[in-house]
């Protein structure tokens, strides 16, 4: 596997995050490289999802959240006042733990984002829907049923639809928040393969509670514990030769 960092895209510097008086992230600093898969692992409540959600500012909607420190994406400080949250979220897409397609047709689900951002032409939308569904390796399964409700799809298909929906707005970064934890093993495998393909075009950051998944698909792995980064290195290195005793304990299954 290649060594860390082609080029840094996301730069997190001394990030502290508080929910009320509880400190969920403690001075987190890391550089996330572009066009690669970075995995966040760690036990429940260690702050990995929280950090992921700071990257598209989904934490803004949780009351009593306070943030200190700095996150830049492509050099721009995403918490500065000039940044438009909607534009940020368009550039930093997200796939959630539970597949959450809208109760609309498959077509309308994928076309939702482009329509939000002002694309009206039917022809253009058709094109985006097809390419997005193809990229999410779902096109062949649904091309004849685009008008059907997205809720008629299986869980794995729904999650791939959510990925298609996220990439339909042409993001640079794709955040995956335990995107396979609600799926069966075969669907999980498909999503993992999909992530491998997508990393040539997108910077992927995934949170997973499944260490084997991190080992299988990611280029870099970050191990979190109690809101702190314990170790950040090449996936291969982290799993074969961890520097920190706590990392070793975790990956060898002694806790977590």
């Amino acid at each position: 596997m290649q060594s860390i960092a082609s080029q840094t895209l996301i730069d997190i510097h001394k990030l502290n995050l508080y929910y009320g008086s509880f400190q969920a992230l403690k001075s987190v600093t890391m550089d996330i490289p572009e066009k690669a898969i970075t995995a966040f692992i760690g036990p429940s409540g260690c702050g990995k999802s929280t950090l992921l959600r700071t990257l598209n500012r989904m934490n803004d909607m949780i009351p009593n959240t306070r943030i200190e420190g700095k996150i830049t994406i492509g050099g721009a400080d995403i918490y500065s006042k000039e940044v438009d949250v909607e534009t940020l979220r368009k550039k930093v897409g997200m796939v959630f733990q539970q597949p959450n397609p809208f109760p609309k047709s498959i077509y309308d689900n994928v076309a939702y984002g482009p329509r939000l951002h002002g694309i009206r032409s039917k022809q253009k939308l058709d094109e985006i829907v097809e390419t997005s569904l193809r990229s999410a390796v779902l096109w062949d399964e649904v091309k004849d049923y685009l008008k059907r409700s997205a809720l008629s799809l299986s869980g794995g298909q729904q999650q791939r639809l959510c990925i298609a929906r996220a990439i339909a707005v042409n993001p640079d970064v794709l955040l995956m928040d335990e995107a396979t934890s609600a799926l069966d093993p075969i669907s999980t495998l498909k999503i993992e393969e999909l992530a491998q393909e997508l990393k040539d075009k997108y910077t992927i950051v995934m949170v997973t509670h499944n260490m084997h998944q991190a080992a299988r698909v990611s280029n870099q792995t970050v191990f979190f514990l109690n809101g702190e980064v314990v170790e950040f290195s090449d996936t291969e290195k982290l799993f074969s030769n961890p520097r920190d005793q706590r990392t070793e304990d975790y990956i060898s299954g002694r806790f977590g």
Partner: protein, 321 residues
């Protein structure tokens, strides 16, 4: 048996005893089981009986109203009853068109004013209001639902109508607009609270998905939340409409009670409900007049049934899964 007596569930059976108790030959276990199965059967019968009872009531109301109402047509032709605007009982003229038209026009006008307003109130309440204001506003709206309609009518008569007179310069102020405004105030809390509840019930995951794609709050509300809450909103509208359609007291007090066609907003008129309540005390029991009033009640029933069916049909036409 006292309330404090707890059945002994802790008995440990040996294999043989267990077998016997399952067969029901051991006295104690059997009596408990017999009791449970008796409760179970009784419960089922009571449930079915209640359901049948409700249906029976509905059908007997329809039957009574319809059977009496139909007697109208022994003396009045169908065409006259439904399409004539001459309602002069003294001359044996029973044309109910004015009232039917008035009821439909009043209900529609009320809905046109109240539905958009309620929707805005509900969205404001569920999506934009800070928690403390929500906790203050929701109980207020709930209380408004319970205010007797005569109070709304009274306020309509003493406050609204003088106000309409001075604002528009009409001499009377009574009429379909005054009634629609009073009804709007009456149904607003009902529609907006039920809509509010159905908006709150839209799963957070849909909102998350929408925001994560870069939508604004307005876009999320219009494109995701409202469509997802559609069936609840429809339900709210039915309830509001049914209330507006059947409301009598508040309407009687502001509509003017004159049998003339409601072809202007300020023109004393009459609707099915108000006409029934104003005239029923005075009619001879065995007269075409009485039957005609029954028929009007029957029409009200049928209109509300049709409305419910239509709204259900619209509701069912969502995205097919």
């Amino acid at each position: 048996m006292s309330m404090m007596e707890v059945p002994n569930l802790g008995t440990v059976y040996s294999g043989e005893e267990l077998g016997r108790s399952l067969e029901g030959s051991s006295g104690k276990a059997f009596s408990r089981r017999a009791r449970l199965s008796f409760y179970n059967r009784t419960f089922k019968i009571v449930c079915i009986a209640s359901a049948v009872f409700v249906c029976l009531i509905l059908f007997s109301i329809l039957l009574l109203m319809g059977r009496t109402g139909i007697l109208t047509f022994e003396t009045v032709s169908l065409k006259t009853f439904f399409f004539s605007t001459e309602w002069v009982p003294e001359n044996e003229q029973y044309g109910a068109f004015i009232f039917i038209f008035g009821t439909i026009a009043l209900t529609l006008l009320t809905m046109v004013i109240s539905v958009p307003l309620s929707l805005i109130i509900a969205i404001f309440l569920s999506e934009m209001t800070p928690a403390w204001l929500k906790n203050a506003l929701r109980p207020v709206l709930d209380l408004l639902v319970g205010i007797p309609s005569v109070v709304y009518g009274f306020l309509g008569m003493t406050v609204l109508i003088p106000m309409l007179r001075s604002v528009t310069g009409t001499t009377l102020g009574d009429g379909i607009l005054a009634a629609a405004i009073v009804l709007t105030i009456m149904v607003l809390p009902t529609i907006s609270r039920i809509t509010d509840d159905s908006i709150v019930a839209v799963p957070k995951k849909f909102r998350d998905a929408s925001y994560a794609l870069g939508s604004t709050r307005f876009q999320t509300v219009v494109r995701v939340v409202i469509p997802a809450a559609k069936s609840g909103i429809m339900y709210a509208v039915i309830l509001g409409m049914a209330r507006a359609l059947g409301e009598t007291m508040a309407v009687v007090m502001v509509i003017g009670n004159t049998p003339q066609l409601a072809d202007a907003l300020f023109k004393p008129t009459s609707v099915l409900t108000s006409n029934i309540v104003m005239q029923i005390p005075n009619v001879p029991f065995d007269s075409a007049w009485n039957y005609a009033l029954y028929m009007m009640g029957f029409i009200l029933l049928v209109i509300s049934l049709i409305m419910i069916v239509v709204v259900r049909a619209i509701q069912g036409r969502g995205v097919k899964s």
